[in-house]
Symmetry: C2
Subunit: 430 residues, 2 copies
């Protein structure tokens, strides 16, 4: 029987899920892998506030070094999230010859390059399956399951909170605010949901996916990121009437030596499988050569979903032989690749604005768009009786971001247009 | 640089794809895995008829033993399909200490238990990712990516030919015969498509999936299997009007110590993601505990899709250390599990029959169903002007297969019912 000694740092929701799942799968792991995982230490700054029922009190500590410096510990599980002190924990653990399992997307997206090198230098493994899509085996599929392939694109729904909010708005006619409250009530959104709804969580995960698929470490700050706070119920209704659905998509594509990477609300056809991915579900498409389009989907968040990914990482570590090739060797860098500017990205656009119902306003707007070389595919103008302003929805043909932005600025300045026009990209997915 | 010597048996469509892909990925494999795959021998009974451009003629043989008995060959790739001589090739290769990669679903579903034991005895690996869903990493996801989970169910669309035919019938209003011809024209169906359209291909794959998820080797013959040949254009149209789609599903579920395993056309809601999986795409759902529902989808057939799975198997073998745990150890057997009878499976049913347009026929049929305890949820009777018989569609509530079969026999005997009633199961998927 192989014995693998674990130190767990961060005993919140996911940490307690990992302990529970290891306990539940104890016999299975023994029988199939001839391995026993022994949790030697559980560290949490607020360990006294946590429910540690079932854990021997002698395992508990608030001192990170009780884990990181313990020579008996083979694998450190980092589950505190954020950059500090998570980074020090991972760096010091690797430098002390320990393998690390983490679910920390901020850490891997910001410091992956540095951490993989440190892991490699120390001949240690660094696993992070739960950092994207929780337990959905996205990372393993890219790095191992599809290893015979090159990747042209990776895109999908990688934030469960936003997908839940948009689903509620679509299915139950909720306003954004009510849908967010419902997400918080059900535990799908934090009390401060900023990182989810402003798209940053998706940007972190997209940086990790782009690295794995294209071999390019992206600076998260360089990824164009737009959240869902501007999506109104009107947009959802217009989308429905056009047989479209609004999803927050993270998209990375490779064109020769240029990468485009962006996170924004996107109108997609109701016939596309992503349109059926609702509630807190995540879904990632990989455009692989020669395999073609691959879709992986499942619950991308939650206590046991994340725990499932962490435990799979542990078992995968255990099932490799002692002289196994290091997983961190997988993360090479293609130095030729460059991140392109969002200005050059071409999509169709849905534009909604409130126009004074005066003859001539549409021709003025068409003129502005035309000047930028933007063709209009359709115009919908709904008549409101009780107001002098009417909402107008225009669908454009393909145009660059830059041209559209210039046109929108000019449209906003028109005296007959009220407020800020809303623009949502329409993406043609395969 | 590690050198891994390969013998390839079967140089048809997939075999030549493997050679092409290994050539394309040569530098990538060298750089990332410090490994070189050397194809030493290519064996095919009809090697003279094959296009062997680019292969050194000294590699070619028609004699299987030139591969199986060659001490220099580390890995044998078996791509001839079928049971004989494929089984002997795999058994003899393993007994000669060679690792094996195969895409042969018939072989693994029929002889997996025996082959895994032989592999284990010889400390050799037996990989078969391409046997189900071609290069979609379904097998790796079940055995490694989701290894922290137990599985309650596995189901999905695992035959691309049938999915293509049903998609064409739905989208282009083709008849079954025309859709099949189109599939043959495009190379999606064999000239003899029997194994695909009668569901047997799906049954083979389902047996493999059930073994991996539940740890139970099923006899393919014991899996209830129904193909798509009875699906008429009328059924497709009725399904559309009910906001449903007909898919050939393979379904395996575990209830305590009982497994149900079946392949049949199934009516599912248009809102379900599987309803959007069209053309030759495959899609497999896993119901995992604790992770929940996981979906994997992609092209499940074709030259390069299958080659992608084979090459991923090869690289995965190469990236493991020398004392790696054997993958065949994963295939244990849960001896408590039993395959249940199809008689006991409960679903809703869609029933269509041609009824003489006489008063009383519906009440007779309702009476027969009522006697079996089968409730009717809805009845649709379309009026045809030029015939005295009208098609009637009934949707039942949940009932066992056994009860429905008895009722259908009695309905068929009614003088006012013409021909054989069509019954299609309606599955509630999550």
């Amino acid at each position: 029987m192989h014995k693998i000694t674990i130190g767990l740092i961060g005993f919140g929701t996911v940490g307690s899920g990992v302990v529970e799942l290891l306990q539940k799968r104890k016999n299975f792991i023994k029988n199939r892998f001839n391995t026993e995982f022994v949790i030697k230490t559980v560290c949490d700054l607020e360990i006294k506030k946590r429910d540690t029922t079932g854990l021997n009190k002698t395992l508990l500590t608030t001192n990170i070094n009780d884990v990181v410096d313990d020579k008996d510990i083979d694998v450190v599980i980092e589950l505190i999230g954020g950059l500090s002190p998570a980074k020090d924990i991972v760096v010091n653990s690797l430098n002390n010859g320990k393998h690390v399992v983490t679910a920390n997307k901020a850490l891997i997206s910001n410091y992956g390059k540095e951490l993989f090198k440190i892991a490699q230098k120390n001949k240690c493994h660094l696993y992070f399956e739960s950092s994207v899509g929780a337990g959905i085996p996205i990372i393993k599929s890219i790095t191992e399951g599809l290893v015979g392939n090159k990747f042209n694109a990776v895109y999908g729904i990688i934030n469960g909170t936003c997908n839940f909010i948009l689903s509620e708005m679509t299915e139950k006619n909720f306003s954004f605010e009510d849908a967010l409250k419902e997400a918080q009530r059900l535990g799908y959104a934090e009390s401060d949901p900023t990182l989810d709804i402003n798209g940053m969580d998706s940007a972190h995960k997209l940086a990790i996916l782009a690295q794995l698929t294209f071999g390019k470490f992206l600076n998260v700050k360089d990824i164009y990121t737009e959240g869902i706070t501007q999506i109104s119920h009107d947009d959802i209704e217009y989308a429905k009437s056009l047989n479209l659905t609004i999803k927050l998509l993270a998209i990375a594509k490779k064109h020769n030596n240029k990468i485009e990477a962006r996170v924004h609300p996107t109108l997609i056809s109701n016939n596309h499988p992503l349109a059926s991915i609702n509630s807190v579900y995540n879904a990632v498409y990989l455009d692989a050569d020669p395999l073609g389009k691959i879709l992986l989907s499942g619950e991308g968040a939650g206590r046991m979903a994340a725990a499932s990914g962490v435990v799979s990482d542990l078992i995968n570590y255990a099932s490799k032989g002692a002289d196994r090739r290091l997983i961190c060797n997988l993360y090479d860098e293609n130095t030729k690749l460059r991140l392109g500017s969002i200005d050059d990205v071409e999509t169709k656009f849905y534009i909604r604005f409130l126009a004074g119902d005066k003859p001539g306003v549409l021709s003025k707007i068409s003129g502005i768009l035309g000047k930028q070389g933007i063709s209009i595919n359709s115009v919908t103008q709904k008549v409101h009786n009780k107001t002098s302003s009417v909402p107008v929805v225009m669908l454009t043909d393909y145009t660059s971001e830059k041209k559209l932005r210039i046109a929108l600025k000019m449209i906003k300045k028109l005296s007959t247009v009220k407020g800020t026009p809303v623009a949502i990209r329409m993406e043609k997915l395969w």
